[in-house]
Subunit: 671 residues, 3 copies
């Protein structure tokens, strides 16, 4: 990112919706609220290019100059998320075909085929116009390409490109037949031309995991190409300006490790649901930070008040936006941006919150709170920018694995990879222990503890890497649904959990699925590991034989497999490997993970009451500690003998401190 | 309507399904049951026009003559609801395209494109045949055009006509862009040809309220044109015969104020669901009566026993049909018609109730009850025909408003305009206070109290009209979700509730949405207004500033806006304006509305026990009072010193009277 | 079936998925487990015919020879369930069109149009190749045509053939109009060309029962033709080899009485759901046995462990597969076959259980249990093969009736024919009384008691047949929803229950529908018939007049029809006819049916504790008695003075015997 002297604070602004007088008033209000970055013109393609190759940029020139005259930077968006109606009308190939085989008509945003050559041609052209015009504008802080990519298209162009993609991946039809195991249900193809897309028209999207997995990879690759089409042009005009695109919060559909390889910075839109627990939001930030190896990211959007597209759009409570903002920054965000600066008066999102509401007034609760936060961020300056999170625990995370697990028919329809990961994440979050999310390619050796929930799929040689990691002294925790399949979702031919079997010292013979109202129970076989003698478990129950010599930590109490192991630990080389063959009640996981962390000498930076989140970033300015009290009552944090000072005001802290309900400390350790 | 000497009693009859012997038996039974009107031939187009331009009317001639020989009138239906298969096959353009973009195939009824020129040509031709043949037949009492219009079509004809309609409405593309605020999400169009229909293919039907609203208006206008296509022909042959069409009970889809402008009389089909409370049915009747300024209407259909298309088709209980029939007449119906006279032996509705069941027997419960009702109606004669309901309370009601509110994404998915209206209606119904439903064009000055639930949309200058109404001494009650948007669903640019702000003396800063399991509570700030000190409220909570000087009647007790107002009253000019910024528990609304009515000196004609419905119609014969005991136990009604006599039998009433469980009095006040 | 010397034990094997080494290992394991039949090559069309007319059979020759060398028989499947991709690509007409009008693309299995001439041509060709090659192979035990037929197609070919089928059935358009009663809703057609298929495009599939019923018959006939296309070829090459096809457990879609007329043996796939009660599974077996007049059938598939396509795929508990297997044989199966022998490593069913799991190990629970069962079956030999079930009770069962009842709109959406039949079946199952399921064509005179639940439809002269049956001394039990309609779903013109009215001695005037949370109660009017004085009832309540002189056994207690009859019995000729006009609580049905059985002198072969299933088959070897303890605790069975010996081991039984939890006795009566 262009060297910033403070956190970028602001967000999406759509000046093409407003007259000059309103824009002038907006400038006044933005300055009053401490805004220093505006993202635009996300949806203005039709206004900027009213007909093919006819450009109308003067209005935007004026706006950008005015913004800059007011001391505010811009994040310039290529407006390619919403192609003009003339483009869809003149070249229907740009419109996608949906999974039911229906050609879409013009409408919405993110409503184009990423493989359409005509779309790419016109997107490149408008991006080039913007680059030529603004790449060296002093206001320009960063680029923002398009918006929330993620459309799955099933048009003839995609069909043809998918065949090319497969040919490149597999070389021969024989190899494809082998990798897709097409002998099952007689699906052998005799040429690439016989491969049809996995849609509702053949039900392959849900009944043929091999092709569906490859199609999801293909869509990711195609989308990354579509992004790069614009990236390369923008970069050409000024390589100094960082380029990002804002990722939708619904992140499953595109493999973000692949997508973000092409980005300079990761950007994402954080729209938590009212009942999302704080750890779930924190985890998403940590995943985003993990996408580029721990590099800080851009919080591209959040709402300054209610959303409008949820079933019940609750107002954000006083202080809630401030907490969410600091939480993002605590976990790696270097910006605090909102959708949106001024509330649209019409359209699907007319009731979505904004810094300036329909009223246009500055005596609103939202404007007041935004101004306070703006002032605080100005005070903080650049203290934590580019700061890194020191973490000794890594969690393996992988999109292919996510897709394959949830595509599987059986053992249970309730398979939910993200939720399973979050159960393990929560145990560390509660201890205020920092975590890095890692792709399968990561160097594991940097971490004292690696958690690998449901690593169903063997990929990037992850099996051998984990074996080596443990052998060399690492501690591994893995779970049910691990070591089962290869990259093409072909199951292990031999005993489960495949390549991990020797290292874990067990054989998993069968996996029972429990219905939502059913439970088994775990009897603790190892004293002092956890506090109770019995815990419940549910969802899935592996039937395990510790035939490789694993120590049995807990056994089932019920059903025909009562007495057999459900949790084991194996010493392998210099390290230890835990296997959790069921979904234990959360209390057990908490206690077990606490014990494992303790054994690894991993602990929180400070102690604090339950519900207080403690996070550390290290920048060239020092060690910044974020303290967020998520409770609705006072809580205590104990900084021990450390001396810290507030970055927001003039307070200093040491020893035990009281933090008000819902309040935040942003502090730096005095060296 | 042709001057009737008594209430038309009868309904839909499909003689083309029966042989001569059955028809003769039917005539005997009809006379026995007091039937004096038969509606036909609703579904006989294919029989009347077996091939294009080839007509076969002789069988219908004979039937009509026979009916008339038996002293029964006919309501003649043009059979255009179900076009013949040859028409669909030869001219596929008459078949609609559905919202998913699928061309329909021949089937069902109401299964044509109202904009198809070929449909209109053939409909006009068959209507003209009927008019030529029967317009002066002595049996003819009224015309019935087609049946339950309401198909939404998305074919190329509709696409083209919609563009023409938009050009006519907006003149220029610039104006359309402005009114639709197309800068949101970059939806600017550069010509009318770029407008595509709002369907599932672009999701505009749910994500683009501006276009969807206009499409719903266009469908209403197109349907009205399609109706008028036949109306004009029928009228030409005999201007004396009144013309109606039967409206489906699912009335949301077409703006009935617009539709019924073209009708001589309003007709509607009343099919309550088993759990519909009595006030909900009463409200629908009152809405229908409001469509043509209080003019009485035709009850075109109701079931003499069970329906067949509900999930569980309960039998109508003894007396239930009689109560429903008198309730309709009490609220403005001048007919009592059933679907159907003889039960069809096959097809989708073979298990739908009928006066004559499959058994053909006359010793059935239904036939007995029908005969008793027939005899009563004969006794009543023309006493209340064309009678008017005297009402001092008006409720504003508007289809555009209904559509726009429920199209809005946010604040809550549970938005239900009809239900909200019904909550206010119920409070008056319980007091037995007559109500008129009013379009936004209505003269408000005729009413002492106007209730305007959720008048979200500014239209027909309603804001200024309400301001003037209150200033001149009127009492207004309005609610949350009022004064927010214009006719194109563009929100107010400025503080809420827009044009109503000064008159209401408040500013609504924000609106919180509560989930179904959440509540807030209201603390009553004004003594003696209602009976308790606290009530619950839910759904939506406006955050209100009484900055225009409104008196605070109640405040919230919970959440961060505890202590702020939720119910206010402002004195404005000579009048008073109440604002209810949440959805209070019904008990509060009841008590508040009772107090407001009392302040306005509006009260029930007589007092009666709970569950007894009292309604008044004034005709040239006098003041008719309907008393319906909806309870399953005895109840009391007190006529005070008035003297009334029964129109059904020889009874006279004054003072306190006992009414049997489920019984009905139809009385006239002796002058 | 080719004379077998023991029960065929084995199932689906897909050797094209495995290498030679794996296949050799499989042979070793199969022999160890007592496997003597393998079904193949169900999904190998693309491998056997890699291009049109190009055949590749050598690999299959080798496999079959190897299997036979290992002493195992084969059930040879024509691989026509999954056509090769080249066939779909080159001749798109083989792909079906779905009910939404969408042309399917290649994928899945059972994914072709049964009326496609090209499909039939290629299916016949591959079947002929197989017949030429293997019809006299010594390993061949039976043929298995295709797999789980049941696709409904709506393509132009089907449209055209349906019109021909209708012309053949009705002769003239006039007759079709009459039989379909097209005057309802104006659906008269003037030529067969105007008939369109009942799809989602016209909603006729749910709103036009007459056409939908005929379409379901047409699909059955078309599918039977498609089966016979292959049958005739296979038969030509070796008439000795029996031919079957495996019926899907979802049996509603095809009329199996019609389908199986063309088969030598009935085959079906038994995949019970975890909560299916034992009687429900038993009933399905009995229905299958009834399809060919009591002839034993082929259990073509069951799972040796979990399924994968249910929401929660529970492991089969120890002993569960053994119980299910013997239950099938007890009710008429002469084979015990599994899907599948070796678990597929990929595809939709990769997590479906198998005799040999992914692990390839023989020390699994499943392999151990399978081997025990294999040894037992070897011990039993051919003792009960071709054995017949002696039954004195018949239950009428009919697919047309099933379809028509559930197509009806009203009286209740909860209409469930199979469930209703099962309620009556359960009462006999609990008494361990054998039952035959009978088509309407059956000779009723063979049975002492005939149960006819919801014989809605008059067909095959069933009304007169039942009248004659009762008149001649039979006992009949029939129920609500009987005697209402004809074969075209035209309701009786006259009083209900139509042709059964005199025989039952009642008139059913109306039928009330109760909502799921509603009940009525039954007062018992006849002493000593059942144990209590009152029972509840729900779902539907007929209002009955015993005007034909029926004796009233019970009356309603609630609602306006309190005091009227709900259960009656009429003496008619020498017999008795019971009518049950509601759905009584199960306890009442149990007791009533017990009483009726007692009156008919029908009783269980032996007495046993609750939860113990007792079944008898009579073969040329003697009287075989199956005893299954479905309880999880010990139970007792009392063989009285009979002497029995075990067919599994050397035990002998007489008098009272204890049976272990979940255990099975298979015994033969010593004469």
């Amino acid at each position: 990112m262009k060297k910033a002297d403070r956190i970028y604070y602001g967000g999406d602004y759509n000046p093409d919706q407003w007259d000059d007088q309103t824009i002038d008033e907006d400038m006044r209000l933005f300055k009053k609220a401490g805004i220093n970055l505006l993202t635009l013109p996300v949806f203005s393609w039709a206004k900027l290019e009213p007909d093919e190759g006819v450009y109308n940029f003067e209005w935007l020139d004026r706006i950008i100059d005015k913004i800059w005259e007011n001391g505010i930077h811009v994040c310039l968006a290529t407006p390619t998320t919403a192609q003009p109606a003339w483009l869809s009308t003149r070249y229907p190939e740009v419109l996608p075909v949906d999974i039911a085989g229906r050609k879409r008509t013009h409408g919405m945003r993110v409503f184009f085929c990423v493989n359409s050559l005509k779309y790419r041609e016109r997107a490149a052209a408008i991006a080039e116009q913007m680059a030529m015009r603004y790449a060296h504008h002093p206001a320009l802080a960063m680029w923002h390409v398009s918006n929330e990519y993620g459309t799955y298209c099933y048009c003839p162009t995609c069909q043809a490109k998918f065949r090319v993609w497969l040919r490149k991946r597999y070389g021969t039809v024989d190899e494809l037949n082998k990798r897709w195991h097409t002998t099952f249900w007689g699906r052998i193809v005799s040429s690439f031309e016989e491969v049809t897309l996995p849609t509702e028209l053949n039900d392959d999207y849900r009944f043929n995991p091999a092709i569906q997995l490859d199609y999801m990879r293909f869509v990711t690759d195609s989308t990354a190409e579509c992004f790069q089409n614009e990236y390369d042009i923008l970069k050409k005009y000024n390589p100094e300006i960082p380029i990002q695109t804002n990722m939708s919060g619904f992140i499953k559909k595109l493999d973000q490790f692949t997508m973000t390889k092409k980005l300079d910075i990761v950007g994402w839109d954080n729209y938590p649901w009212p009942d999302d627990p704080a750890y779930f939001v924190a985890m998403k930030h940590d995943i985003m930070r993990g996408l580029k190896g721990g590099q800080s990211f851009v919080l591209t959007e959040q709402s300054p008040n209610q959303q409008n597209w949820q079933p019940y759009n609750l107002l954000k409570r006083p202080g809630e936006v401030r907490r969410l903002s600091y939480q993002a920054m605590a976990h790696g965000a270097d910006t605090c941006l909102f959708f949106q600066m001024r509330q649209s008066v019409a359209g699907q999102e007319k009731f979505h919150g904004a810094i300036i509401s329909h009223s246009g007034r500055e005596d609103t609760r939202v404007f007041r709170e935004s101004s306070v936060l703006g002032a605080e961020l100005a005070h903080i300056g650049d203290t934590f920018l580019n700061g890194r999170t020191p973490a000794r625990v890594g969690i393996l995370f992988d999109w292919n694995n996510w897709w394959a697990l949830e595509l599987s028919s059986g053992p249970s329809k309730d398979m939910d990879y993200l939720k399973t990961v979050s159960l393990y994440y929560e145990t560390l979050y509660r201890q205020n222990i920092g975590v890095d999310f890692l792709p399968f390619e990561a160097e594991l050796e940097k971490y004292d503890l690696v958690i690998a929930p449901m690593i169903y799929m063997e990929k990037n040689n992850i099996g051998e890497k984990l074996n080596a990691y443990v052998k060399n002294g690492g501690t591994l925790v893995t779970t049910v649904m691990s070591g089962l399949a290869d990259e093409n979702d072909r199951c292990v031919f031999g005993a489960y959990p495949g390549k991990l079997k020797d290292m874990l010292g067990i054989w998993v013979e069968e996996t029972d699925a429990l219905r939502p109202y059913e439970q088994n129970h775990m009897k603790i076989e190892k004293a002092d590991m956890v506090s109770r003698e019995e815990y419940s478990c549910d969802f899935l129950c592996d039937i395990i034989h510790p035939e490789g010599g694993a120590e049995v930590l807990a056994t089932y109490e019920d059903d025909f497999y009562a007495g057999t192991p459900c949790v084991t630990c194996n010493t392998f080389g210099k390290g230890k490997a835990y296997y959790i063959g069921t979904q234990p009640e959360q209390k057990f996981l908490e206690e077990l993970m606490e014990k494992i962390c303790k054994d690894c000498n991993i602990e929180s930076v400070y102690s604090a009451d339950e519900g207080v989140e403690l996070t550390v970033r290290k920048s060239d300015k020092g060690r910044i500690v974020f303290v967020i009290n998520h409770n609705s009552k006072e809580a205590e944090v104990d900084f021990g003998t450390d001396k810290l000072k507030s970055l927001i005001d003039e307070r200093k802290f040491t020893g035990k401190n009281t933090i008000q309900p819902g309040d935040v400390f942003v502090t730096i350790v005095e060296e």
